[in-house]
């Protein structure tokens, strides 16, 4: 039995598990007992209003922040208890697309994508070039390898960041607001590339986004963070019809009256 009484039974492998995670900044409580589970191969989307702490949850998953209380299990390890070396081993199985892509601005796009390969493998330069070109092609950036991040548009930077996140076939990929700052066409492009790469590489994905309801199309599960807690963790179609008042208010605020008719159709 899971949040909001929904049944969630599965024998699949748990990739990420939060148990009662609490986090405060000074006297401000941000996360108050977060429980969350991400199963292998699924795409979890965490939504919520700005400033609720969605990125804080993501930073806990990445081991960039430690909780004040509770457990954060990632790929079978409680990453709040392991040392730096063990955390590095866990992170080798990650890929992360940061909100602003976080490309190293002193390196070309090619070198940015090649960076994890050069640092973590013994591949020859020929093998690296082949792999990097394949990933750049996957995100439709095959002609931009020589460019520097400052020469790229916002959408291109995100795509380069995605290529870098995927270069070593990660098991889990984290997306922090993947479409923030992009127009509708560029956002759709990122969503298309997400589907394409996920289908090809088969990774588990965690997406933090405020781009509801569009982001629901990518999700296997949607979690709503509000009032310092995960209110529900449900498949998107159930999420949209959920009677939890906080969820209802979020759904109405983000989907508006246009969506109401669609909802009634679904209900009918």
């Amino acid at each position: 039995m899971k949040l909001d009484g929904s049944l969630y039974l599965s024998s699949e492998e748990i990739v990420i598990e939060f148990q009662g995670v609490e986090k405060s900044f000074g006297e401000q409580l941000v996360l108050d007992g977060i429980d969350l589970t991400v199963m292998k191969g699924e795409t979890l989307v965490i939504v919520g209003a700005s400033g609720q702490g969605k990125s804080v949850i993501l930073k806990h998953m990445l081991g960039l922040m430690s909780p004040d209380g509770g457990k954060v299990n990632v790929l079978g390890k409680d990453i709040t208890k392991i040392g730096r070396r063990e955390l590095t081993e866990v992170r080798k199985r990650f890929g992360v697309l940061f909100q602003n892509a976080a490309l190293l601005d002193s390196m070309s796009v090619f070198d940015n994508v090649a960076l994890p390969v050069r640092e973590r493998t013994d591949y020859t330069e020929g093998e690296i070039a082949k792999l990097v070109m394949d990933r750049l092609e996957m995100v439709d950036l095959e002609g931009a390898g020589d460019k520097y991040p400052a020469q790229l548009s916002g959408g291109m930077r995100k795509r380069a960041g995605l290529a870098r996140a995927l270069v070593l076939d990660p098991e889990v990929v984290f997306f922090d607001e993947p479409t923030t700052g992009l127009d509708v066409h560029k956002s759709n492009e990122i969503y298309r590339l997400f589907r394409k790469t996920r289908d090809r590489l088969g990774y588990t994905a965690v997406i933090v986004s405020h781009d509801a309801p569009k982001i629901f199309k990518l999700a296997d599960k949607v979690a709503l963070l509000a009032e310092k807690k995960i209110q529900v963790l449900l498949p998107p179609e159930k999420f949209q019809l959920c009677d939890n008042p906080t969820v209802r208010s979020f759904v109405l605020a983000t989907m508006g009256p246009v969506y109401d008719s669609a909802r009634e159709e679904v209900m009918a």
Binding site: L62, L64, L115
Partner: protein, 261 residues
Amino acid sequence: MRIFKVIAEDFLFYMAMAGRMTIFFFRAIAAAATPPYKISEIIRQLDFIGARSMFVILFTGLFTGMVLGLQGYHLLKNYGSVAALGAGVGLSLVRELGPVLTCLMVIGRAGSAMCAEIGIMRNSEQIDALECMAIDPVRFLIAPKFIATLISVPLLICIFGVIGIFGGYIVGVQIFDVSWGGYFQSLYDSVGWDDLRMGLWKSLVFSLLIVWINTGKGYFLHMERDGGFGAEGVSRATTGAVVLSSVSILVMDYLINALMI
């Protein structure tokens, strides 16, 4: 009660910062001392910290030596011992002014840039990205700067000393009436291995202070008490790093003198 709370919070904040900076220092030293070395990045940093500081070091070294020659000549003339000018210029440069002024110049030119570069990388999540790619940012970003500073600053100090002695020679021998033989003989007689050793120790300790404080302030920009984010945060951290490293060098200069004299 409120004042006690503020003092306690300040104390805890500075203790935590001292702890972070100490761990950061030892991590950087360990990363700099053990392979694999980022040779191309070390060369790039040598160029930035060392080669590109050459002009300013030559310029300040020359004029420092010339001022020493000018002041020293007029002082020594009163005692009829202008031949000791070489000793005065040489000792001042090798023991004190060479290490201190070179390091202050390097802080202004390269130290501030190191702090700003690392700080901007912290602000734009580039350091987080390295960590998430399982790449140690200390080994990747900081260690090459430690190695390059430890190589280039002592060399810049040597160059400062040599060009300063030449500056003293121009003023004392070429402009005034000191004989070149007297100038260099007094220099040779007075400046010994103990003086060079002191200069060397200072150059090593000061190099470490420069690179540690400037990279550390940038690396922990996000943990600055008054908020390290945005352009203003980087600017504040850079100013703080320059002031702190400059003051630390002057304090450390006194301590080394007190220990070695």
